[in-house]
Amino acid sequence: MKLPIVDHPTAARPFVTNPKRSPWHDKALWFVRSKRDKQAKGVSEWEHLRELASEIKTHTVANLADYLEKFEQAATNLGATVHWAADAAEHNEIVLKILRRHETLRIVKSKSMLTEECGLNHFLENNGIEVVDTDLGERIVQLRDETPSHIVLPAIHIKKEEVGETFHQHLGTEKGASDPKYLTEAARQHLRNKFLLGEVGITGVNFAIAETGGIVVCTNEGNADLGVSLPKVHIACMGIEKLIPRFQDLSVFTRLLARSATGQPITTYTSHFHGPRDPDSELHIVLVDNGRTRLRGNSEFRDSLNCIRCGACMNTCPVYRRSGGHSYHATVPGPIGSVLSPTRDAKSYKSLPYACSLCGSCTDVCPVKIPLHHQLLAWRKELVGRGLLPVSKRVSMRFASMLFQRPRLFAVAGKCGRTALRVLPHWMTHNRLNTWTIARELPSPPRESFREWYGRNRNDD
């Protein structure tokens, strides 16, 4: 499938220029970031844990084939069925085949960024299967026919009044109601029925343990557990990077995940599944590649496979907080999304590595120490090499390069610039041709350059 080219500044414009929405969104995410800081500071060994997590993940990615085989063996011994999917289409076919075999018409699904990545919902709906997302945020965006704008807080971009309107339309709540407690209760009643009618439960996976063949799913709402403990069939879909080697490694990741994500000491439910529930039940685990083995081969961006999808990098990102998740046009937005998306399709996502001020805050909060802002910078280098920069940037960069290579020309240009700044009338610099000055003033020029000053004062030797 050919993807349209995403221009992040254009895609972000409606959100950024909305004087109420953008600051409100910014504040909501900063609140989550502050909660994360409080939790991180409460654990004195925090940096040590990040170090451990990074080492475990890096080791796993290096030895991925062995661990995948080990996992498959252990899970199969427990009675689970392990499937392998090279790409999104194959993943969807595998899930559909299982559902067809059970003549399933209704499924309940808990949050899974992988199934979002694969477009599972629409695929199943097109095949006549009712899909109910049971995470409250995901249900809200599903009813609104939107996509999640954040990987942990799918409906963070939606105001409670808008949720009220959506629920009024779909669930019959009172018109104008916007109390989160009332709306959550309405969703609880609505989804209870869906849970009871669900014939198959689909979940994502937070961690898969190679040594034991088990999987771990973390939720606060309890929707994954409710969804899979009623029906007899549980399908768990995971990217192959979710693997960790040993059961004991969970201790490191369960300490980091919720603290980094939402500022909780641990998620409300951390459920460990080892094989199907009973001899009558089935547990299917779908291992999905969809570009991950290729990404593993790329030494520059390999570390991004360590991601545990906590969302801390988006909560802290000054660009994400102000532009909203939808401006990235990708399943995973924010800093990690801006690294991952171009690895899938560099041309379509070439503007994302520039949706970044290189402030480095994402790198500081990442629980598995992915050097996110270094990777974003590396992407820019890569995009230049591949000739994917827009003409305006290519020409100006070439001009700058020429200028910096010629000291005398540089000195003349500097002098001209300083004089121009002094003598040009305001309207000449501030007009619609110069977008840089839309919300900025130009600096007042110094009388002389550093070079001139140096020549006068330090030219003894």
């Binding site: 475990i56 949720v163 989804l191 557990d225 369960t254 909780q264 000491p265 409300t268 080892h274």
Partner: protein, 201 residues
């Protein structure tokens, strides 16, 4: 089936054609991790911050007394108890073949194995539940666990579980909750609306 087998081979092959050097797995040194002088007190404190309520008691009979002082308990019509020495339920969940039959449960009282001080979590072993949905489907949940069974942090917790021998186990930390509408915390999303934890000696 064949497609999946060939995908399996191609995925493994693509990984193996690019061998990478790696350091050995690190070992976690528990002595580097924070411990608490009074871990039970820490557990009680953290459980409170995640919306649960802890009760330190001396005898199992006190569980019934405490619950009977809670209005939503005295009004409850369908109670399942897996801790008979604490309280007698009026629904026997082991009589149900199909877990859907448990949908109308008001309260469940279930045993926990141990508690974790750092995050207010209780480990519940699936073996103690005739149906695992018992933890998630009732309106209200009470867990009963011995406070002598306390660990400081998750490293001790997983070391204590050792190698999992049951097909299901869960850490529960507080009642089910969501903040998906404008970051407003609401207790009682899909699972239990409140969580009572009784800490016996």
């Amino acid at each position: 089936m064949n497609a999946s087998t060939s995908s399996r081979r191609s995925m493994l092959d693509r990984i193996r054609t690019r061998p990478l050097d790696s350091n050995p797995l690190p070992t976690v040194n528990p002595s580097r991790m924070t411990t608490y002088s009074d871990p039970v007190q820490k557990f009680v404190e953290i459980l409170g911050t995640v919306g649960g309520q802890a009760h330190i008691i001396d005898r199992p009979e006190q569980i019934g007394e405490t619950l009977n002082a809670i209005e939503v308990f005295t009004n409850a019509r369908r109670i399942a108890s897996l801790v008979p020495e604490a309280i007698q339920g009026d629904v026997d969940p082991s009589c149900f073949d199909d877990p859907h039959g448990l949908a109308s449960l008001d309260w469940v009282v279930a045993p926990g194995e141990f508690i974790v001080a750092e995050n207010g979590a209780i480990w519940v072993d699936g073996r103690s539940l005739p149906h695992r949905v018992l933890l998630f489907i009732p309106q209200y949940l009470a867990l009963v666990v011995s406070r002598s069974q306390v660990v400081n942090h998750m490293h001790e917790a997983y070391a204590r579980i050792g190698t999992p021998t049951t097909n299901f186990g869960v850490f529960v930390s507080g009642p089910s909750k969501t903040a998906d509408i404008e970051q407003s915390l609401v207790l009682g999303a899909h699972g239990c609306r409140t969580l009572q934890v009784f800490l016996l000696p």
